[in-house]
């Protein structure tokens, strides 16, 4: 049996996180936050709009980096968590490839993007297609799914790069299509740096 995506998505999607008595959410070896999507989209739009031409690349890099480091550290916590062990690991028969499938099922279940792997060359390249993602609704210009770029890179590195945390910054992710620019879906390509 390989990972049954729908089963994993439905099981993980039921989980709601809430603050403890300190108002913090310590889960997956990080402090989790739960923020309005409109806040994240509006911030990205305004900081990009405010940046002059010579600083736009740096701001874009900063937005992707924030998502990437978040995804790398939180993703490690997710794929080693009890819930992932309970729901995903019993279905794993193809090793790393199935772990990655399970991780992208979590990606969908937790509302980052309704997405899946459409092409995979282990340790070399991955193509992700997203049919729904919140960044598609952000204002601005051009391809702007900064969060998805960072997360796709992070999840591929967790699977195929050196063991956590030594495997950082091995791959890169580029967005090649976007709902926000009129394409039918978003598409993200992860390759070696």
């Amino acid at each position: 049996m390989t990972v049954m995506r729908d089963t994993v998505v439905k099981s993980l999607a039921k989980i709601n996180v809430q603050g403890d008595e300190s108002g913090l959410i310590p889960e997956y070896d990080v402090l989790v936050n739960l923020l309005p999507v409109s806040l994240l989209n509006t911030f990205a739009e305004r900081i990009m709009a405010a940046a002059p031409a010579d600083k736009k690349a740096k701001v874009e890099e900063g937005l992707v980096r924030a998502a990437y480091e978040c995804g790398y550290h939180t993703g490690c916590g997710i794929i080693t968590s009890d819930i992932f062990n309970d729901v995903v690991l019993p279905m794993v028969t193809e090793g790393e490839k199935d772990i990655l499938r399970g991780a992208f099922a979590a990606f969908t279940a937790w509302g980052w993007a309704k997405s899946g792997i459409v092409q995979l060359k282990e340790r070399e390249k991955m193509v992700i297609r997203a049919n729904d993602y919140y960044e598609a609704e952000s204002g601005g210009e051009g391809l702007r799914a900064y969060m998805l770029r960072g997360l796709c890179q992070a999840f591929f590195e967790l699977t195929y790069s050196d063991p956590y945390p030594a495997g950082m910054d091995t791959y890169t992710c580029q967005q090649v299509k976007g709902i926000e620019v009129g394409d039918p879906h978003g598409e993200f390509v992860v390759t070696k740096k």
Binding site: L31, V32, A66, G111
Partner: protein, 171 residues
């Protein structure tokens, strides 16, 4: 008053909602790096952009809850923002004051504690996010528009103090 939290899920897209507003989960790494990004972009007003966006977004969410639940007293309305802060995983705040302003203490702070976990103590306060958030708490409590209050962080856990402290003034 205790904030009512209704979580829901859109079955087709798997988007998550809290009290009808789309929400998404990230971690302290994300907000620490966003905070660092706005600090580095100080010359284009980075910290103020973050503060303004947080205030506008949160004020809309607080006012929506206040209206739907028929709250009228400033204390009840203030508690909406205070309790949402913990529901969002942002920490725990103690609010005192009046329509003219007041003081907010952070006894736990996702932003500050996250910053310290990631990089250790900093040499100055960095919680621009909570400045905007607190401005929204006071604006909602006293039925005022965004930008009615100025908020200054005068003590910071990220800078090594045991609690965060914010002074709020009616602009």
């Amino acid at each position: 008053m205790s904030l009512k939290l209704e979580f829901s899920l859109e079955n087709e897209t798997y988007r998550h909602y809290l009290n009808g507003h789309p929400v998404v989960m990230h971690s302290h790494h994300y907000l620490a790096l966003i905070t660092k990004l706005v600090e580095e972009m100080g010359d284009i007003g980075g910290p103020q952009i973050l503060t303004d966006v947080v205030e506008e977004t949160m004020l809309a969410i607080f006012n929506d809850y206040i209206q739907k639940n028929g709250l009228s007293s400033p204390m009840d309305k203030c508690n909406v923002g205070r309790e949402y802060y913990s529901a969002f995983g942002l920490g725990k705040m103690i609010v005192t004051g009046s329509e003219n302003g007041g003081e907010v203490r952070l006894v736990h702070s996702h932003i500050d504690e996250g910053w310290i976990q990631k990089w250790g103590p900093h040499n100055k306060p960095i919680n621009h996010f909570s400045c905007g958030y607190i401005a929204a708490v006071f604006a909602a409590a006293f039925n005022k528009p965004a930008k009615s209050y100025s908020v200054t962080e005068t003590a910071s856990m990220a800078a090594g103090e045991t609690e965060g402290k914010f002074i709020v003034k009616l602009s």
